[in-house]
Symmetry: C2
Subunit: 460 residues, 2 copies
């Protein structure tokens, strides 16, 4: 079963980059396992993005409580010939022991702000890096893309149809969850419905229509099986013809005291077709029958359809959301910012990090977000218009408070979006939200940078 189900609980230890394990062995050998703080953040905005939506924390916390190295993992490591018996013995009982501060899922945040900070013995903090980045990167990527779709839809409903073209099975699940967190209404992914309690939705496929000799026969058959939940796909042969046949079936259902729920468009000029189809349905006395549209939608196509006055009630949003097609990765980094009490920075070209444990404070005015302040974590900034965003979620293997439910996180996210002014939410040409460093953090940065530059200069 190696191929269908790759990553189980027993596999979490080895789900990491080799260098995490080799560095760990070197730290272990040199007895260099003091407390380290790592900060996870996104360096830059990809094109058209001006905010991000935090997601993936639930996954991370479950991982941190479970990750370990079973004997099968140790046997594999042993046979690579790279690891000492002393280190393998250490790994056999290793568990993550650390403190985690994080943005709650659904939080709106900005470039260079810590999404999550881990303080742990450096071996612990390092071994978990690869999984942490993987989980937070994917879910934040998708929640952000989905939030943009929600903005574009201006209240119209959204269904996640991405399952078949997400990158693998794990992504299919996380896409369903992250898009729901960001305000989607349902998913076609039945397993996500079971696992997360997300409402499931679906229509019918072209294959259903084509396996009947006549389109209308297919429509009638489906309506017979699902008298309350039928959405007919009308573009298999010709959309206008399909709409007329659907209207006929809708009228037949009405005569039986049933109701056709909707029709689906999946190709062609959606705006023009939706208007014509709306007219056909209305003329047939079926104004309550909804129009679902799918096929290549993302935030840009949704916004265009809305602007053109398309009569679309529900968008089925698949591939382009599910792979975040216009920005399929973020420049996300997990960087050492403190080791054994010493603030740490790297200076590689264009990749400066913010030192020390931090807190992000959001400044609001009249119910609107005004700016964020990244400060040293211990700074006390108790002004009434500032509130801290990072909370301590894990300490010494224990999750500190019950995590919010997905529904609660979804509501929290919706509230976050209300407070973010429109100029940061536009799909194109948005403004960059102001993020300042506190004077104390600024000063800490300068001191560390100066010390490194002096050190580097001395050997050149």
């Amino acid at each position: 079963m190696a191929d269908v189900m790759e990553v189980g609980i027993e596999d979490l230890g080895l789900f990491t980059d080799l260098y995490q394990l080799t560095m760990a062995q070197s730290y272990f050998e040199h007895r260099k396992n003091r407390l380290a703080t790592f900060s996870l953040f996104i360096r830059t905005y990809p094109p058209h993005r001006h905010f991000f939506v935090a997601a993936g924390l639930n996954t991370v916390l479950e991982y941190l409580q479970q990750v370990h190295f079973p004997s099968s993992a140790l046997a594999y490591l042993r046979q690579t010939g790279r690891f000492s018996e002393a280190f393998l013995t250490y790994l056999a009982t290793w568990q993550f022991r650390g403190e985690v501060w994080a943005l709650p899922e659904g939080t709106v945040f900005f470039a260079n702000e810590p999404i999550l900070e881990v303080t742990a013995p450096i071996i612990d903090a390092q071994l978990v890096e690869s999984f942490l980045v993987n989980a937070i990167h994917l879910q934040t990527l998708i929640a952000t893309k989905a939030a943009r779709c929600v903005q574009a839809a201006q209240g119209r409903r959204l269904m996640d149809f991405a399952l078949r073209r997400t990158h693998g099975t794990d992504a299919a699940m996380k896409v369903a969850r992250a898009s729901y967190l960001a305000g989607f209404d349902s998913t076609s992914n039945v397993l996500a419905g079971q696992h997360y309690g997300i409402p499931i939705a679906g229509t019918m496929a072209h294959s259903y229509v084509t396996c009947f000799a006549e389109e209308i026969e297919a429509f009638r058959s489906f309506a017979h099986t699902f008298p309350q939940q039928t959405v007919l796909l009308i573009d298999t042969y010709d959309t206008i013809t399909g709409a007329k046949r659907a209207a006929e079936v809708g009228q037949e259902m009405a005569q039986r005291g049933r109701r056709l729920l909707g029709v689906r468009l999946d190709s062609g000029d959606m705006t023009a077709l939706s208007k014509t189809v709306r007219n056909i349905l209305d003329t047939a006395g079926l104004p309550e029958v909804q129009i679902v549209a799918s096929g290549g939608f993302d935030e840009y196509a949704i916004a265009q359809a809305v602007q053109e006055g398309a009569r679309i009630d529900v968008f089925g949003v698949g591939t382009k959301m599910g792979v975040a097609a216009d920005a399929p990765y973020y420049d996300m980094a997990y960087k050492l910012v403190k080791y054994d009490g010493r603030p740490i920075m790297k200076l590689s070209s264009g990749k400066v990090t913010l030192v020390e444990e931090k807190q992000v404070w959001r400044c609001t005015s009249d119910g609107h977000d005004v700016e964020d302040l990244i400060a040293l974590r211990h700074e006390r900034l108790d002004q009434p218009d500032l509130h801290p965003l990072l909370t301590c979620v894990m300490h010494d293997r224990r999750v500190l408070q019950p995590l919010p439910s997905l529904e609660a996180s979804r509501a929290y996210h919706a509230d976050q979006m209300v407070h973010l002014p429109d100029r940061y939410k536009t799909l194109h040409h948005g403004e960059t939200y102001p993020v300042r460093l506190s004077a104390a953090l600024e000063s800490a940065q300068q001191q560390v940078e100066m010390a490194i530059r002096e050190d580097t200069a001395s050997v050149q």
Copy 2:
């Protein structure tokens, strides 16, 4: 553990789009479960692509042998209120029974050619669609991207560094496997090393360097732990300074009878830096120390570095390969092409399908691929310059022959690439490989299309 490990064997049944299950119930209710053939193919080339590399078949075959609906899945379906007890009882003992023809993993193929065809009772063929597309889409997407990187590298070695930014855990595994299939040499993903037997590789992170007070102390410590396998990361503070320190450590190792394996560049102008660093290492008497480069590489950046004469021996290729950044999805479809003996086509705008069970024949001349011919499967085209590509891999739940090992598929793929003329392999402006339809398939297409158009016209 719902969040860490989403999709286990028991979950495979529900890992599908809702409409597959609702259509299945409707087929079941109408006793309409005759043999259907579905064809999986890619409709169009994304920008810059002129060939694809088939991958994912192993995953699919394991899935088809395992997928079922355990009682927990049935309980969930029951509580949705959409499904009849009769249908749930049917699902309780349902297993996939069908015949699968497919391109072997590693096969080079082209737009509109079937990658895989399933012939099964329509309920069976339909329920498995979502997983099949998900698996073949991801692995083909990545194998193709990776094959392009291999072309660009012109013999230089390639390491998969994508794990942390692939879309989820399943993708991290499949990316390691698909890139190795396509000719990569190793992966940083330790679990992929264990599961697939792929060589694992890695260097060190900036955090390792920065947690020591001095860069050279970090280098010496790592070299002490790994006297045979040390690759030093030299760009944490300043790459040239780092290279000089690495050379010093390399000389110290040589004096102890050890050998520094390499240094890694991870930022800046890689071509220029690689030449300078090569010079520093050579001058220090370390010509055997290799230069590894990572950071934003994809086929385009690799090709540019090679063209500029970069002295890079090994490329670490991460995010852009692992998410196929310039083309993160394909227009892949799984379409009904025959039902109960009747050829099937849909005509939705721009989405014409090829009817009936098919075979793809490759025509070669002087050891080079010349053109492909898509024919009806039963056609006999036994010319010496033609050979069929699709093979029957599964019949009635049995995999018909032992699948080739990953190493064998990798060698087969390399051979496929040798036979594909260069003009189809260039990164930009490649030519479109000629794919013809056989006269019999062409004629079948025309007959079906004409019948549909007549039928549609009659109701307008």
